[in-house]
């Protein structure tokens, strides 16, 4: 009893102290570890502003770099119990190696659980729970291209890799860069390979399962090896820009928007950035699926949205949950779309897209409506090696043959699988 009185007194004293502080600390602060230069940042800022206006909670951003470096930073900080209250991360295998049940707050009992698509939830699930909400629309991977150049050269959207390369030849002959390579940001090098997965899946449907079970390899599966070959081919045939190692993602975007480069192997998350940096050019930008070897199997590889999760070490779990609920609420989604059209459909049920979506998004929706989609490999298998970006650069500059790169990646994967102690490795 005495102790209780004491703690009550202490609480009273503390609250008086807090209240008398120069900045009345009745607003709570939570910290969100987010990617630097995220394409969706404007939309996210709009959600945050709306949230802060509604609740006495402020959100402060901490920024992390993209690519492997940002992933690794998160791993190091997880190991050190040094996590913020909210975290942005890739969904799928990259997220699932983070030991979700141990490190993150389960959201399956929250009201928001009913609002999310199951296809999304499985990519952030472990055991019986799931651990994140979608931060962005569903991205599609393929070729983002400049329609204006296509029109002026009289080109047609290619349905096979052969048609694609013949388009590239014509573009090259016209003195324009056919394919943009931005290997200074090495994560962009892997998009061509990752977006090729629809084609792998179409010809070798068992690949994902066998790959997880250590029965199939990139080097020994011809359809999978094609990805490394395609990255190399655009280099050896002289389709890519000069100075790929000095070209960044931002520069690539500018090249694409201006028509200085025509094809950029990328995912649709780039559209929001193009829209905010080059608003007058967004209608010149289109999308087509990465062409495979036969025209009747032509479809798009879908990513799952990056997710926002709550690390268990957070001291403000309640406030963080409030934010996640708000984010996927009608109000949150409206705020998200208040700064511009979204670059895809949402993994949140019942969200209606505005009528005026970007042309490239319309291109993607055509595939979706025709049911010609497959998830990217990282959402089907937990096995993803940490060095894929660099290995794709090696293939993309022909430092090694495509086969050597595939073998190298198979070994890279083995290291990760062993560390995860997956069965069969």
């Amino acid at each position: 009893m005495q102790r209780r009185i004491f703690s009550l007194a202490a609480a009273a004293v503390i609250s008086v102290l807090l209240a008398s502080g120069a900045y009345a600390a009745d607003r709570q602060k939570i910290v969100w570890l987010q990617w630097a230069n995220d394409a969706q940042q404007k939309a996210i800022d709009a959600v945050v502003t709306a949230f802060q206006a509604k609740y006495p909670i402020d959100i402060e951003f901490e920024f992390k770099p993209g690519s492997a470096e940002g992933e690794n930073l998160v791993k190091t900080r997880l190991a050190a119990n040094d996590m913020p209250d909210l975290l942005t991360y890739n969904s799928g295998s990259l997220f699932q190696v983070l030991n979700l049940e141990k490190n993150f707050v389960d959201l399956s009992k929250e009201p928001l659980a009913a609002k999310l698509l199951d296809s999304f939830k499985t990519t952030v699930a472990a055991g019986k729970g799931f651990y994140g909400i979608p931060m962005q629309p569903i991205p599609a991977g393929g070729i983002i291209y400049n329609k204006k150049v296509y029109a002026s050269l009289g080109l047609k959207v290619p349905r096979t890799w052969k048609e694609f390369t013949s388009n590239c030849e014509k573009i090259k002959a016209a003195g324009i860069v056919p394919v943009i390579a931005s290997y200074k940001d090495d994560w962009t090098a892997q998009l061509l390979l990752l977006a090729d997965f629809y084609n792998v899946n179409a010809t070798t449907p068992r690949f994902a399962a066998d790959y997880t079970a250590n029965k199939a390899k990139f080097a020994t599966t011809p359809a999978a090896l094609r990805g490394f070959e395609k990255i190399q081919e655009v280099f050896t045939k002289g389709y890519i820009n000069k100075e790929p190692m000095s070209t960044t993602y931002d520069m690539a975007m500018a090249m694409l928007a201006s028509g200085e480069g025509v094809h950029y192997p990328m995912a649709t998350w780039i559209l929001a950035s193009i829209n905010s940096n080059f608003p007058d050019k967004i209608n010149d930008i289109g999308f087509f699926a990465l062409p495979g070897d036969s025209s009747d199997k032509n479809g798009v590889t879908l990513w799952m949205p990056n997710n926002i999760s709550i690390p268990k070490t957070s001291k403000s779990i309640v406030a963080a949950k409030k934010f996640l609920e708000f984010f996927v609420s009608a109000e949150g989604m409206a705020a998200y779309m208040s700064v511009g059209a979204p670059d895809g459909t949402f993994a949140v049920k019942g969200v209606k897209l505005p009528d005026a979506v970007f042309p490239a998004v319309r291109d993607v929706l055509a595939y979706v409506d025709a049911n010609k989609t497959a998830p990217a490999l990282e959402f089907l298998s937990p096995v993803k090696g940490p060095n894929l970006p660099q290995i794709c650069v090696e293939s993309g500059l022909a430092l090694k043959t495509a086969l050597e790169c595939a073998k190298e990646y198979d070994r890279d994967v083995e290291k990760q699988a062993k560390q995860l102690m997956l069965p069969g490795w």
Binding site: A68, E69, E71, N72, L73, K75, T76, A79, V97, Y183, K184, D186, K242, E243, P244, M245, S246, P386, N387, Q390, I391, V393, E394, L397, L399, K400, E408, R411, D412, K415, Q416, K418, Q419
Partner: protein
């Protein structure tokens, strides 16, 4: 007498330093031998024998670091010795501006490696960078310094030398200044040229400073990490990865056992190289 004052020099004086040094340097070094043999999650470990070392030496993306670190150490070391010596000899002549020049050449040392890396990443930009635009002015097509896989490592070597040659120079200057003037006077009387002075007096009598420079530059080079990390991150691909950058990548990737194995590899190389290098270098000095 000496025996009685010995009481003044209690080992207790050594204790605070000893504890810090053992706890934060020696102990981790010994622990690394053990943990290099495990798959390690920091909270848990599983013994895997020499598996980590097998991976380190057989995986091309890892073993390339070994080769690159040796190239890096040897070339930075050689350039610092040669340029440092020549600069020192030149700046020990009766130049009026030598004080200014010494300070100027030493100056990059006080800049942080990160800053230097960023500055040169910009200067070495293939089309806009100041270096290539200057070369283009003279009609030379400059290379893609950091983007060309054959070039990247060597470009960073040049930057390392730019930053570090001042130290080598200062050490050589100290050595040269300690050479008694009458040696030179004797040679002048015999009609020796300036080049003879350099060849027959300055160079041989700078051996001990040269030892220091070689040791410092080589050990520094083989352990080097921050400059390459800022400038190339080991790329393109893995072509400019050093042992230390590989250790860091494995650490970041959560492969703690593998990362520690890299540390042990580096430890072994440093020991193998340092001991005989030090011996042979000091022996040369004795032979003189």
């Amino acid at each position: 007498m000496a025996g009685s004052t010995l009481r003044l020099y209690s080992y207790a004086f050594f204790l605070p330093a000893g504890i810090i040094y053992i706890l934060f340097f020696i102990a981790p070094t010994f622990l690394s031998f053990f943990f290099s043999l495990t798959i390690w999650t920091l909270s848990d470990w599983r013994f895997t024998g020499l598996d980590n070392f097998r991976i380190f030496f057989t995986e091309p993306s890892l073993s390339i670091g070994l080769r690159n670190s040796l190239i890096y150490a040897i070339s930075t070391c050689a350039l610092k010795v040669v340029l440092g010596f020549l600069l020192a000899a030149f700046l020990c002549t009766k130049l009026k501006t030598r004080g200014f020049l010494r300070s100027l050449i030493y100056f990059p040392n006080i800049l942080s490696t990160i800053a230097v890396g960023i500055i040169f990443s910009s200067l070495m930009h293939p089309s806009h960078g100041l270096i290539n635009t200057t070369l283009a002015f003279f009609g030379i097509q400059g290379p893609d310094w950091l983007g060309n896989p054959k070039m990247a490592l060597f470009s960073v070597v040049l930057v390392d030398v730019w930053k570090g040659v001042g130290v080598a120079m200062i050490i050589f200057i100290a050595g040269i200044q300690a050479i008694p003037q009458h040696y030179y006077e004797a040679l002048s009387i015999d009609g020796g040229s300036s080049f003879d002075k350099l060849r027959y007096i300055t160079l041989p009598l700078s051996r001990s400073s040269m030892n220091s420079v070689i040791m410092l530059a080589f050990i520094g080079g083989i352990r080097s990490f921050d400059l390459i990390w800022v400038m190339t991150k080991g790329g393109p691909g893995f072509t400019s990865d050093l042992i230390a950058s590989i250790i860091y990548k494995q650490l970041q990737g959560g492969f703690y056992g593998l990362s520690t194995a890299g540390n042990v590899v580096l430890f072994i190389i440093v020991s193998i190289m340092a001991v005989p290098l030090y011996r042979s270098l000091t022996k040369v000095e004795v032979d003189l």
